[in-house]
Subunit: 480 residues, 2 copies
């Protein structure tokens, strides 16, 4: 395909994308296909000769769309949102065209520098303490990771290498593997599965701290566990706090937990994957109070800040800690400015070596929405969740299962888990709206997460009417 | 931005992208900026109100382009290629619009299924043994990772968890951390830095196996180390073979190494990050002989197969091994079909949870180039490297430092390392072409990697003329 054809096909694709978004609510939000549906729809092998472009494009509707879960449908309320906006898509096109791999400053200076400055912008937007910002002289700074899982893992690896360094400074004879075997990391029993996974990858014990009735970790709970483990000769070294848990959007009490971690010389990482974007609104910023005690902080701009996946933003107070986790410098990656101190080589901040020019998405979105536009988006979605909460509360057959703080409503029919499982199954099988469940204190709970940028109040109302219709049907079938 | 404006801006962006690629060789391939150049060009904070689109676009040329290293310039010969093609860019636009997060089958069945089938297509294109393919009943299968670093890490974690399982089956009392402390992994002393890094992350010892005069690991070298380590009570469990090393594109002797690993019950992973794409050509496929002994195999389709970053393809013989590395199943990620055996939940195959619909890029590229078109691309670039090699050999002042097998030529001026360092510095500072060095047997060597899709013979000739001009100047300055 030459540039002339690309101009034509690219513009057609722009129209296809615009049409897709414009008419997305006419599609079933959840696909009606069985596992293995796709294989029989396409050949078993690659074509030897090039095919016609028209034939490829025709297959989007024939092969792909029937099997797509439409995350950007206004009727999609599952998981947490994944962001989508036109400015981010435009920036992503530019990112693809430049197509640089920004593993070092020299590999494309603009790619590295825009990222550092955009993370400073965003840090200021959520009023992060200054020592998390890079500025021109700072020891901290921000980086774009692919996902929150990777940010958590990086923080755990940095903490692990820091504690080994500290211990070996006093006891040079202690081996790394002996120290590893005594390390203990902690997280909320509500923490995302990726936190437990980070422990498995890093080869350290990860213990779950019990939460209170609001699904939040309090200082006392962590303190007890840490003290007990220390008495047992173990080495507590890391705590991953969650702001906005996946199940119910609960917030750990970092104002209590932070000083405790600092005193215990434990690394505190904050995973605010979903909730973090909300901190650009002053009314939600108090939820982040206590971040000043953290060593690292992360949220997914690709969840709720209108920046298409992937763009998980992470800040550290001491960049030396994260770089020190496993810096390597082979000759083929060295460059002149490397030792100047002014230069950031982001490959040391992350698991992969390669990285795309993702900060372009932040730059486009920030400038084309403005802070105000982004705040409007957050506030609107919180409002929609509150409206949904009201509807649930107005129906005596239902109960709200967790405080509604941001865009997530956890609710259920008063009654058995089985009843609620059946309700959810029926909701999802009509394919009009899509939700996923969670478990809270042993209860099977339905999660209604306001996700799509295009979700309006009438969609929420329509969805609630749909849910109550199905609930009424279900309840009528029950023996009285 | 509404859809109407997106249609307009999107089409303008298509033209910008087409113009950029069409005129890329008029730009300096390497930017003339100092560290910190960008910060002063833009405001210190996010705008509160949205800006005009025109102002944002103007800033691409003012702020971004001056700091871009143009990886797709025909004069870019540094590192290894990163792929770029129009079909991949079109597919990426579609990927962005669908914007699904394919962590499980249910999260978007098409995203998972197209990936499995495309990896089968590609596996057949390189004639992988059938037990690496998923098919409809296979135990193996393919997955798209972000980078080769992640593929290596995943294979190491899978191997680590397999050996622990095996050992604990016979000795239930041995703890994981005691076993970890005795594990030894191996790779070539020419292996990419990410392999050593995988060992650091996984908390296991990684030893470097010495290579022969062709920079290739032979069976005997590994065998000796393994035997010595076993006698010392250690547990050899993993070998990462490299096909196409970063420094000189050397190939480990996997026909010897494979059976050795199998007999020793060590996991053999093959990292063919760059070279792997070439195996779609029958004449290069013999370089992959021995893959039948491997447990996992990986290469970067985003390097040499015209699929834009990121798209690192990986196959395993036993998907249970890789899934078993750290499968976790919280309720909010469960779905109906999960236990059907027909379904792949790719989140278990990778470090991150989230994942984009990257197989669309493979699908578009495979169909719009056809196997023949992709083979032509590989062959053309190998041919260009051979042409460059000839020019170097014809100039008595230079020497070739490693066999030219694919698209990389390692060469240097006969003389000191300092002389060659100066030559490279001068080449890069003219910004006409861009290269990076490597170290081979203590020698400072220049790497000429044919990278851009648009590089033609006349670019290579012009580049050689430029190099020899600078070399002549340099040699004339030397005292006789």
């Amino acid at each position: 395909m030459n540039t002339t054809e690309f101009r034509k096909r690219g513009k057609e694709m722009i129209d296809y994308v615009a049409d897709y978004i414009e008419t997305i609510e006419q599609r079933s939000v959840y696909p009606d296909v069985q596992p293995g549906y796709l294989r029989s729809l396409i050949p078993e092998e690659v074509p030897v000769e090039p095919e016609m472009y028209e034939d490829v494009v025709k297959d989007i509707e024939r092969v792909i769309m029937p099997g797509v879960t439409h995350w950007h449908s206004p009727f999609f309320y599952a998981y947490f949102p994944t962001a989508s906006s036109f400015p981010a898509m435009l920036a992503d096109m530019l990112c693809g065209a430049i197509g640089c791999i920004g593993f070092s400053w020299a590999a494309s200076p603009a790619c590295t520098e825009l990222e550092t400055v955009m993370l400073d912008w965003l840090g200021k937007m959520i009023n992060l303490p200054e020592n998390f910002l890079a500025g021109t002289t700072g020891c901290g700074g921000g980086v774009i990771q692919g996902t929150a899982s990777e940010a958590t893992l990086m923080s755990l690896l940095a903490a692990r290498s820091r504690i080994v360094r500290w211990i070996q400074a006093d006891n040079p004879d202690r081996t790394e593997s002996e120290i590893f075997s005594k390390l203990v990391a902690y997280s909320s029993d509500q923490a995302h599965s990726s936190v437990e996974r980070a422990g498995l990858i890093g080869g350290v014990t990860m213990k779950k701290v019990p939460t209170d009735e609001k699904f939040s970790v309090q200082g006392e709970a962590l303190k007890k566990m840490v003290e007990r483990d220390r008495r047992a000769g173990l080495i507590p070294f890391y705590f991953c706090a969650t702001l906005g848990t996946t199940a119910s959007c609960a917030f750990d009490n970092i104002i209590e937990l932070g000083p405790l971690c600092n005193a215990a010389k434990m690394w505190m990482h904050i995973d605010a994957a979903y909730a973090g974007s909300a901190f650009i609104c002053p009314e939600f910023r108090p939820l982040l109070n206590g971040v000043e005690f953290a060593d690292s902080f992360n949220f997914n701009a690709h969840k709720w800040l209108l920046v298409n996946f992937d763009c998980s933003v992470m800040w550290v107070k001491e960049r030396a800690d994260i770089i020190g986790a496993f810096k390597m410098d082979p000759l083929y990656l060295k460059h002149d400015h490397q030792e100047s101190g002014l230069v950031t080589d982001y490959r040391h901040w992350q698991i992969p070596l390669g990285r795309r020019f993702r900060s372009l998405k932040l730059w486009f979105v920030f400038r084309l929405y403005g802070l105000r536009g982004l705040q409007d988006h957050i506030r609107k979605q919180v409002l929609l969740a509150k409206e949904f909460e009201k509807m649930v509360r107005d129906d005596q057959r239902f109960e709200i299962c967790a405080e509604v703080i941001l865009g997530l409503v956890c609710f259920r029919l008063k009654g058995s888990n089985e009843l609620n499982e059946t309700l959810l199954k029926r909701i999802n099988s009509t394919r009009k709206i899509h939700m996923v469940p969670c478990q809270l204190s042993g209860k099977f709970v339905l999660r209604f997460a306001v996700c799509a940028r295009t979700t309006e109040l009438h969609h929420v109302r329509e969805s609630w009417a749909h849910i109550t219709d199905l609930a009424s049907e279900l309840l009528q079938e029950l023996p009285h």
